[in-house]
């Protein structure tokens, strides 16, 4: 295993490289938008899955992903207006994990808005997370854009409250992505009504950006790349002119356009997930629009993980994927075609072999 220890040294080398700001693609494309106040950026970090081993030990690999995202985000110039954390801060919802993750997030030089992930929720139903980050769903306005955070990882009450003898078992069952004992994610009636009332205060022309943990669309139910009441959420967003949904959970590049709604997924800082099409027994509805991220090279432990830098200058989203061991990607709304597109690889002639998943 001599080669393996060589690779380990390479890991260390690349981990050290983050200190060099020169490696970072930090240039903001300042589009000439009539109203300069509308030009702003934010950063998006997600799915860190901080995992407690015992005592003061946490899984080093996942820790490194979040530490790196925070360090790089702090180096951004111009400074983003805020940072969103997209959920799954913890692996098993433990106080120790949320505390350890929160400590790392606290090093961000920005205001942080947090989204609930299923790994944060199903131990104590979000109670401790709330002590750290407040309400599970909320909204705010920023420079002419209306932002909404949804808690989209709820499920049937019977599953949550009646099926499992202990909270720990409930958490473990939901934590297994491919566990057939899991249950489909949903926003739920109460929150749908809240969203209806929240959007009633927003004019049709106001750009709206929704942050959720699960995709508010149906891609593959077996891994909960899915929200059971996605259509009902989409229906509430339909009357608006410009809507973007940004979601975590899938740990991979995805994007789609459904009617007036643009969808963008974000990378995890912890580990990448396979595309559902690479599970031979699954039927996947991944948008044909999506040019996948490269297949991960496991010998680079940060490969196929990363974080995002989001440019709102056009009123729509330009999603810049900062990939630790790979060529960065930019997926931006194309006003000519009315959908998000990869600025380099969208054309099928431009694709590279590692983007083929099987």
């Amino acid at each position: 295993m001599e080669k393996s220890s060589l690779s380990r040294r390479d890991f260390l080398k690349s981990a050290g490289a983050l200190a060099t700001a020169g490696c970072l693609p930090l240039t903001t494309v300042e589009l000439a938008f009539a109203d300069q106040r509308k030009n702003f950026t934010f950063a998006y970090v997600s799915d860190s899955h901080i995992q407690h081993i015992k005592g003061s030990d946490f899984v080093r690999n996942w820790d490194r992903g979040l530490i790196r995202a925070v360090a790089e985000t702090n180096l951004l110039t111009p400074k983003p207006d805020f940072v969103v954390f997209g959920g799954d801060l913890a692996q098993l919802g433990k106080k120790s994990e949320l505390d350890h993750g929160a400590e790392m997030l606290a090093r961000l030089n920005n205001k942080v808005y947090c989204v609930m992930g299923e790994h944060d929720y199903y131990l104590d139903l979000g109670e401790y997370w709330s002590e750290l980050y407040g309400p599970h769903y909320y909204s705010w306005d920023h420079k002419g854009v209306h932002f909404v955070v949804l808690n989209s990882i709820l499920t049937y009450d019977k599953w949550t409250y009646e099926r499992w003898p202990t909270a720990e078992q409930r958490m473990n069952e939901m934590a297994g992505l491919d566990n057939p004992n899991g249950s489909p994610f949903m926003v739920g009636k109460k929150q749908l009504e809240w969203l209806r009332q929240d959007l009633a205060k927003v004019t049709k022309e106001t750009p709206v950006v929704v942050f959720s943990h699960s995709p508010i669309q149906k891609i593959y139910k077996g891994w909960n790349f899915w929200t059971e009441d996605a259509e009902q959420v989409q229906a509430l967003l339909r009357p608006l002119d410009d809507v973007t949904v940004i979601y975590g959970h899938v740990h991979q590049i995805q994007y789609n356009q459904i009617g007036n709604i643009s969808f963008h997924a974000v990378m995890a800082t912890a580990w990448p997930w396979p595309y559902p099409e690479s599970y031979a027994q699954a039927e996947s509805h991944l948008a044909r629009l999506t040019v996948p991220m490269n297949r991960a090279d496991p010998f680079f432990e940060r490969d196929a993980t990363g974080w995002q830098f989001v440019d709102m200058a056009s009123g729509r989203v330009a999603m810049k994927y900062n990939l630790y061991n790979n060529t960065n990607r930019v997926v931006a709304y194309n006003p000519k075609t009315g959908q998000p597109e990869d600025t380099a690889y969208q054309d099928s002639g431009q694709r590279v072999s590692p983007q083929v998943h099987y």
């Binding site: 995992q51 690999n61 997930w273």
Partner: protein, 137 residues
């Protein structure tokens, strides 16, 4: 007397051999045999699945399924193949041990031990129906 008993035993043995003759033939088997063999196989697949999701397999609580739900993205049909990061052709089980030692920070399994066979059985089972493609990248 002794001889009579011996002769009787011989007759009984021969009778058993004739009556059960079909079962003793190497190349014929019944649907019931097939069902039993399938059950044996599936119980090993089940063991493999349990290991796949187990936080105990490695040393840091990380399970195989955390990165490979349903064993996806493991490409068993492409092995043996040139694992470019190691610079040689390897079998799938060597890659399984690589994962055990690196992301799972644990100790490798015995290459022909029952746990390795179970994991391989599970990975292959999840990939059933896919054409063999040794060496593919």
């Amino acid at each position: 007397m002794h001889r009579k008993v011996a002769l009787l035993s011989l007759i009984v043995v021969v009778a058993i051999l004739i009556a059960g003759g079909i079962a003793l033939m190497a190349d014929e088997f019944t649907a019931k045999d097939q069902q039993r063999w399938q059950e044996e196989f599936m119980s090993v697949v089940q063991t493999g699945r349990e290991l796949w999701v187990s936080p105990e397999l490695g040393a840091n609580g990380v399970a195989c399924a955390q990165c490979h739900p349903n064993a996806a993205n493991t490409h068993p049909e492409t092995y043996p193949k040139f694992q470019q990061q190691l610079g040689r052709v390897i079998a799938l089980r060597e890659m399984i041990n690589w994962c055990l030692m690196n992301p799972l920070e644990g100790v490798p399994l015995k290459l022909d031990g029952p746990r390795m066979v179970a994991i391989e059985a599970y990975v292959a089972y999840e990939r059933r129906g896919v054409a063999m493609a040794p060496g593919k990248h």
